[in-house]
Amino acid sequence: MIKDIVLYLLWFSIVVFAAKFFGSYLYRVFEKEGTWLDPVLCPIEKIIYRFSGISPQQDMSWKRYAGSLVVFQIVGLLVVFFIELWQAGLPLNPAKETAIPWDLALNTAVSFITNTNWQAYGGESTMSYFTQMAALGVQNFLSAATGMAVAIVLMRGIAWHSKHTVGNYWVDMVRGTLWILLPISCVFALLFVQQGVLQNFSPYVTAATLDGGTQTIAMGPVASQEAIKLLGTNGGGFFNANSAHPFENPTALTNLWQVFLIFLLPVSLLFMFGRMVKDARQGYTIMAAMSVLFFIFLGGIYFNESSGNPYLAALGISGPTALEGQEVRFGLGGSSLFSAVTTAASCGAVNSMLDSYMPLSGMIAMLQIMLGEVVFGGVGAGFYGMLVFVVLTVFIVGLMVGRTPEYLGKKIEPYEMKMVVIAVLLPALAILFGSGLATCTATGVDALHNQGPHGLSEILYAYSSAAGNNGSAFAGLNANTLFYNLTLAAAMLVGRFGVIIPVLALAGSLVEKKSAPDSSGTFQTHGAIFAALLCCIVLLVGALTFFPALALGPIAEHFVLQLQTILY
C-alpha cells in the first residue's frame, strides 16, 4: 500500500514537472515565438502550406474555423472508412485480414476521427498493418491535434479581445502535429521498443511451444502506434487486449510511462493557459480542482480493488481477489492507477479489464467519463470541457452575489451561457437516451455478456464511453452488431461535435468582447475557494444527471456483492 502511494505521488510530481516545461514549449509553438526545432521544422512547414495551398497568415472567424475543422474530419472519416472496406486488396496485410463489414467500418471510422477509439473489433484478428498505420494511426495524430486546436482557440477567445478572428485551423493542426505530437511519439516509441514492444512488419509467427503445442504469435508495427495512442489520449490498442497485452505494455516501467504520456499534454495545456492569459494562477487553480477530483477517484478505485471480491475470498483465495482481468506485472497499484488515469483523461486505453472490476471501481471509471472527462481530460478536450464548467461556475456565483458574471475580464452573457449549456447537456443526453434505447430493445439486451445489474452497467458504460469519446469498455458487451455500431457511432459524433462547435462559438463570441479591468466587486477565479466551487459544480451536475442510472447498475451490484445472496 505504502509502495503504491509513494509511486503515485512520485509519478504525479514527474507529470507536473514535465508539463511545466512542455506548457511553455506549447506556448512558444502556437504563439510562434521560436523553438529549438524551428530550424528543421519551419522549412517543412512552408512546403506543406505551399503544397496544400494554405495561406498561414490568414486568420479565420470562428465559423470558418469550425467549417474547416468539420470538412477536415469528413475527409478523415471517408478515408478511414474506405481503407477498412478495401483492406483485403491493399498492401501490408500478411495476416490476410478480410474486408471490414460496412457498419463496423463506419463505427471504427467515427470512433477514430472523434478521438474515441472505441473498438468493436479485436485488432490483431481484424485490421491489416496498413489499416492500423495509414488509417487508424494517422487519426490518432489528427484527432489529438484537433482537440488541442480547439483548446487553443478557446484560450485565444479569453486572452485576445476586440477581434473577429480566432486563428488558423490549418496552422494549428500542422504545428500541433509536427512540433508536439510527432517528436514526443518518436522518442517514446523507441523507449517502448527497448522495453519489449514490437515494431516490425513480419507475418505472424508460428511457434512450437516447450510443452509440445503450437502458438501463433501476432506481430506488427506496434510501438509507433502505442506512443501516440497514449500521448494523443486516443486509446485504440493495436491488439484486442490493449495495454494489458505484453507486446503493448511489457513492464511496470512502460506502464508508468503510459500513464505519464496520457496526462502530459492535458496538464501542459493548463500551464500554457496561464501564460496565455498572463496569470499563471488561473491555470494552477483549475489544476488544483482537477487534482483533488483525480486523487479522490484514484483513491476510490484503489480502495475498492484492494477490498476485493468476497465471493472469491470465501473460496480460500489469498492476495488481490479482484485480479480477474488484471496482469501480475502491474499488480493492484499499476492497474488501479491506469484505470483512473485513462478514464479521467479521455484516453480509453486499458491495462486491465474494467468489466471484471469491483462494482464501485467500475462505477468511478464510468462516473469520470460521465462528468465530461474534465479531470485533466483528453488532449484539448479536457481543457475546453473544464473551461465550460468554469464558465458555469462563474455564472452560478454571479447569480448568488447578484453581479454580471465575468471571467478574466470577459462578460458572460446569455449567448455564452447557451453554448455552455448545450456543451454540458448534449453528451449527457446521448448517454442516457442511448442507454435507455438499448435496454428496451431485444438487440440491445442480447449483446450482454453479464446479467443482473452488471448488465446495465455494460450498456451504460458503452454509451458513456462513446459520448465521452473515451473508448474504454466493459468489454464483455458484444458491441459489434448493427444496432450498437450505429447508435454508438451517433453518440460519438454528438459527444465530439456537440461540444466542439458550441465551444468554438463561445470562443468566437468572447474574442469580440472588450476586456474589462478587474474591479473590487469582481469575483476572483483563482485560489482555493474558486477551486472548491468548481469541484462542487462538476460533481453536482454529474450527480444530478446520472445518479438514478448508477443506482440501478453498479451501486445495486455493490450491495449484491456485499450481501452475497445472488449470483447472475
Binding site: F72, S318, S356, V560
Partner: protein, 190 residues
C-alpha cells in the same frame, strides 16, 4: 468552401504521409537497428525453430513445468493472435463457478491440503490472456509437483525459482513475480 475542401484534402494527404508512413517507417528502421530482438517479439529459438516469445504466456500442461495463469485468449486459451480476457463481472455465476473448480483442481494437482490458501493469480484469468508472469507464492506452491516430476530436489527447484524471480525496482516500481517461460527454460537447462 471550395478552398476549404482543397486545403483539407491536400493537407490530409501530406499529414498522412508524415504520420502514417514516414513516422512508423522511421521508428521501424531505427528500432530494428538498435533493438532488433525486442522489436521482433523477443522470440525464443530452440533447435532452429521458434519456441515462443519471452514476453508471452504459453500453454504449459505437463507436470514438469510451472503453469501460467488461466487464459481466456482464443478458444483453447493462450492464443497469441487473439488476446482476450474473460470479462466476467464480480457477481457472475460463471466466474465464481470457474474459480471454485480451478481452486479445487489446483489444490489436488499440486498436492495441497483441501483448505490450503490459493493465490489469486493462480485461478483468475489475466487481462490479455497472455500474462507471462505468476506470483512467487503461486510458483512456490507448484514447486513440489515440478520437483517430483523432474526427480529433482525441492530445494534445487526453489533455487532456480529464486534466481529467476523479479522484485520491485527501488522497492516501489513493479511486483514480486517470475516469468514462467524463463523459469521453465532454466529448469530444462539444469
Amino acid at each position: 468552401m471550395e478552398t476549404i475542401i482543397k486545403n483539407a484534402v491536400m493537407l490530409f494527404v501530406v499529414l498522412t504521409l508524415c504520420t502514417g508512413a514516414a513516422y512508423p517507417l522511421a521508428v521501424t528502421v531505427v528500432s530494428q537497428q538498435l533493438f532488433p530482438v525486442q522489436a521482433n517479439g523477443s522470440l525464443l529459438e530452440k533447435n532452429g525453430q521458434v519456441a515462443g516469445s519471452m514476453e508471452l504466456a504459453q500453454d504449459f500442461t505437463s507436470d514438469r513445468y510451472f503453469h501460467c495463469r488461466p487464459s481466456a485468449a482464443g478458444d483453447g486459451g493462450y492464443d497469441a493472435a487473439n488476446s482476450a480476457a474473460s470479462n466476467l463481472g464480480p457477481t457472475s455465476r460463471q466466474l465464481i463457478d470457474r474459480v471454485a473448480q480451478d481452486t479445487v483442481r489446483y489444490r489436488v494437482y499440486n498436492g495441497l491440503s483441501a483448505d490450503a490458501v490459493v493465490p489469486a493469480d493462480a485461478v483468475t484469468a489475466s487481462g490479455s490472456g497472455l500474462d507471462p508472469d505468476i506470483s512467487l507464492k503461486n510458483a512456490q506452491l507448484q514447486a513440489n509437483r515440478v520437483a517430483a516430476a523432474r526427480g529433482m530436489s525441492r530445494e534445487m527447484v526453489l533455487a532456480v525459482l529464486a534466481a529467476c524471480s523479479e522484485h520491485p525496482v527501488l522497492g516501489i516500481l513493479g511486483e514480486d513475480k517470475v516469468n514462467v517461460l524463463r523459469l521453465n527454460l532454466a529448469l530444462d537447462q539444469k
